[in-house]
Symmetry: C2
Subunit: 147 residues, 2 copies
């Protein structure tokens, strides 16, 4: 699995990736059917997305005979982390905490997920700063609003 960092997967492409990741690998027919089922897309749409993903090196086409096999080149976890990082990189550092809080509140998490998060937090608490600085503007070191 290659670094998902440099590959930008768009929303539609992301849908295809989810299918590929979940199936592990698949033929275009299987993917086309899955996408038709899931999103109502026409065959062409899935084909196009698949090609763009191949071009981006997110998916590879293997096999010698005609119904080729498509499989992921980038890992799901890495891609998800990259996407999340990308999101937080564009937000005010000062607000990351409350955003994460909101996400945790909203998402369904398993007992072990929660245990892992608690573990990480406990560790992180040891040398956590009293407060995180706003990094939106130079000079400006804090955001006014705060609700």
């Amino acid at each position: 699995m290659i670094d998902a960092k440099n590959v930008t997967i768009t929303d539609s492409e992301w849908e295809v990736m989810r299918a590929i990741w979940t199936m592990g690998q698949a033929t275009s027919r299987e993917l086309i059917d899955a996408m038709h089922e899931l999103k109502g897309w026409s065959d062409s749409t899935t084909k196009t997305l698949l090609h763009r993903l191949i071009k981006k090196n997110a998916v590879e086409q293997t096999g010698d005979s005609r119904p080729y096999t498509f499989k992921p080149v980038v890992g799901e976890k890495e891609s998800m982390s990259a996407a999340a990082d990308d999101l937080f990189d564009h937000m005010c550092a000062m607000r990351a905490g409350s955003t994460i809080a909101q996400v945790i509140k909203t998402r369904e998490l398993s007992k072990s997920d929660i245990a892992e998060l608690q573990q990480i937090l406990a560790e992180k608490a040891k040398d956590a700063p009293e407060m995180v600085q706003c990094n939106c503007l130079p000079g400006k070191m804090t955001c006014e609003e705060d609700s």
Copy 2:
């Protein structure tokens, strides 16, 4: 502050919003200078983005005399939550936990941020499911890969 849900703020626009949110409100000149400083953008670029944001109802222009004042219509926190939600909505539910874990590891969090997260997690742990199901494909109830 209006619902940030329906407004899609693009990456570049997001940069402008950060400046506006941080400044609370500002004249176009101040914003143009800030963006020039931060991103090296030409005046026009910031102007265009400002206008698009106004059209999207993310920013409003107030004042009667010439140097008008621009101020946010959507809140920062709401927008950030909306963006985060949007991201997680497109990812496999089963992987949300590990993604959040990765984010927490990477980001800087203050002591109080951590305390809040721990608080939320403790509460959530009470009735957490043993495991979260993959929601990528119909039928398919779990993702194979798992690293």
